[in-house]
Assembly symmetry: C2
């Protein structure tokens, strides 16, 4: 039976998972391809002699990416080297040589997606990217195929497992962020450089992959409101619970008709909301659409084997297209903005509306709450609930915690800069947005 | 641009949703088809002059199914008449005439799936059925494509919205089943004849669609252990809560390697399990697979518009296949048992293992608990927890509630028939299985 020659770029965590899964499930894959098999021909690695996470025939390894891209027999290239510039160059070259692409690289798609999808279309090749968001959870397929007949209005999701693990642990253990991050790094749950994860950039890249799929509108990472987790304190989880919320690392995107909003930040959500039950390293994407209403897709969003599931499932589908000679039919291509809902403007950060949780650290003196309330009121920020601690001793700082009704981000930021300048305010005010 | 002529059989609830969605989202659908459009040519109905749930051009309506099946221009037939025999005849005839099929009919697939898929393969046509399970939630796609590279080990799901609505309401309101069922019928949440829903048969049909997708093994409805909801009483929800559980209407299927188990029954599940948060008419399918681990797919499992999403998304995909001349590639066809994991035997009811919740109604006399415990012990049923009520007055019946460790269904049934025959046992013992 027919063999489909495949080349792999990168043999790190996910690449090793792909090699393992192609081996472990070879029979099942052959069955799904009606007897044809996926034939891993060549694996480009940075160092040939490194210890590997998986048993691999050393004759497959090469340090020359060119020897993969220039192999005329290879029909599918799996890109798992990550990063933007080199990956872009390799993927473009593969496309130009008529090879189909499977990638897990959200940064690549977020930054160079337009160029790559256009090149794939020109050359009639497939470009599949299920593994770029939500690990093995087939969210890209759900949006592109399952909801193909529907219109997505809003997407709210947990797409960074490290962040969710950190906030879940803080919820359960009430210890400081830095301490829990350190532990997670020691255990390998967080990267040595956690910036991409805890500062929200990994999630923002994923949101930039999801927004065009949901709304037919392109977005650049710079247009997303991005806030990370640093600075959330154990006490915030206690107040959140008191108000009936939990804190989750969300990405939120909404279609306003004339414009689209996109943001990434830790968020208070009601305890009864389905996403509140998504804990640890799990991801979930919650979609609101016109005809289906609410739907949710949940599972492991990272890790060697879960991500390999998405990569290899894409390889199977690209192979099926090859076998049925329907490559480039692009069922999973990003929609072009010329479509049913064209390119819309992305709302600026200041235009966003939200409810807010504000924790003020103030000197415990009569009239302080009135002062805060005045400034908020002058900026059209109306208060929903207030909790004011009694001071442990006269004159020491206390917390005043406020939740607001819907307010405009611009007004909130202006009000906070005034409030933070007050002599009675002893620390920068903690702001966490509320979603419900 | 090209038009794809489509015929519809049935204009009930879901059929009306399909007509509405094809109209409301026509632009989006055209965009997804690269400019081609879905052209609804003919709708076969039982009565031509009935009032309709949706505006429809009366010239499209016909009472002659033959005029749809024999129209040489129609390329896709959407079957929404339900039932088994007529639907089978119409679908087979359409296939033989080279037409592609989209159906929402789980009973049809559960009973005649083998014959229909074989016919579709012979004639090189597509047979899509996303709407048959989980309404608009793309669970069929997730299993066939998203997890194509993985191996499913277990599936636990809520696939009957009416049953979930009834149990959720009983949980919240502690009123008798019959009363809540009556209300649901008055409000249109339950059918006038609720048998298919509350007695588990609708769920069993859906399980028979899912099992071959998950495990490559065929199953007949008669091979599924099916128990309905009748006879669960408000008091069972109170005891469930006391033990840390909620009661959900589950379907469970598990691959044991040499055999496959499949069952449908109300089930106690731990409050922290994700499915415990799935309330009201919502459905959810929780999948355990080798590489991905746990994943869950959640949303509205029934209703006019949610089910229409699945039907129309299938129509879009069948249309794409037509446009790329790759019909019959069968990415969504049921796997044949000759595949990676061949036809396995289905476990008989007596072979199943589970933990059990048993509520005994006994006369409050010393030694009764010992008597129950003896009979259970003699049948290798070991007790995990016991709650024994004090009697309100001497000699009146009281409840003894037991949870067991894993036990064999056959042993439990034998023990209960002995226990139910005891003179101290005044009512048939209530049995609910526990899943964790």
């Amino acid at each position: 039976m027919r063999k489909i020659p495949v080349g792999l770029l990168g043999l790190g965590n996910v690449g090793s998972g792909v090699v393992k899964l192609l081996g472990d499930n070879a029979d099942a894959i052959r069955h799904r391809l009606g007897g044809a098999s996926v034939d891993l021909r060549r694996i480009a690695v940075r160092e040939a002699d490194k210890p590997r996470l998986v048993d691999v025939d050393p004759r497959l390894l090469t340090t020359s990416v060119a020897s993969v891209l220039e192999d005329p027999e290879i029909q599918i290239v799996i890109e798992l080297i990550g990063g933007e510039d080199l990956a872009r160059r390799f993927v473009l070259e593969a496309i130009e040589r008529g090879k189909h692409i499977v990638t897990a690289n959200k940064a690549l798609l977020a930054v160079h997606g337009d160029e790559l999808f256009a090149a794939a279309e020109r050359h009639g090749v497939d470009l599949y990217f299920e593994a770029s968001v939500g690990g093995g959870v087939p969210i890209i397929r759900a949006l592109r195929e399952g909801l193909a007949s529907d219109r997505v209005d809003e997407l709210v999701a947990i797409v960074n497992g490290t962040s969710n693990f950190l906030l879940t642990t803080m919820t359960d253990e009430a210890r400081p962020f830095a301490e829990i991050l350190k532990e997670a790094q020691d255990k390998g749950y967080a990267e040595a450089d956690p910036t991409l994860d805890v500062d929200g950039w990994d999630a923002a890249h994923k949101l930039c992959v999801l927004v065009p799929l949901c709304f037919g509108t392109r977005i650049r990472v710079e247009q997303v409101l991005v806030e990370g987790l640093r600075g959330i304190e154990p006490i915030d989880f206690r107040y959140a619970e008191r108000f009936g919320y939990v804190i989750k690392p969300l990405v939120i995107a909404k279609d306003h008709g004339d414009s689209v909003e996109a943001r990434v930040h830790p968020t208070l959500i009601p305890r009864r909301f389905m996403l509140a039950a998504v804990n640890g390293v799990y991801n979930a994407v919650y979609v609101s659409s016109y005809a289906l209403g609410s739907s949710m897709y949940y599972g492991r969003g990272a890790g060697m084997m879960p991500t390999a599931v998405a990569v290899v499932s894409d390889v199977i589908e690209v192979s099926r297209n090859l076998l049925s000679r329907s490559s480039g039919g692009a069922p999973l291509r990003m929609p072009t903005p010329s479509g049913d809902r064209g390119q819309r403007r992305i709302r600026a950060a200041g235009e966003l509306q939200s409810r807010y949780y504000l924790r003020f650290a103030v000197v415990d003196k009569p009239g302080v709450l009135a002062q805060l309330a005045n400034i908020l009121g002058e900026h059209e920020i109306s208060i929903s609930e207030v909790v004011q601690e009694g001071a442990r001793k006269e004159g020491s700082p206390v917390a005043v915690v406020v939740t607001t009704h819907q307010a405009l981000e611009r007004n909130v930021q202006t009000a906070l800069s005034l409030i933070n300048g007050l002599p009675t305010v002893v620390e920068k005010t903690r702001l966490i947005r509320i979603f419900e």
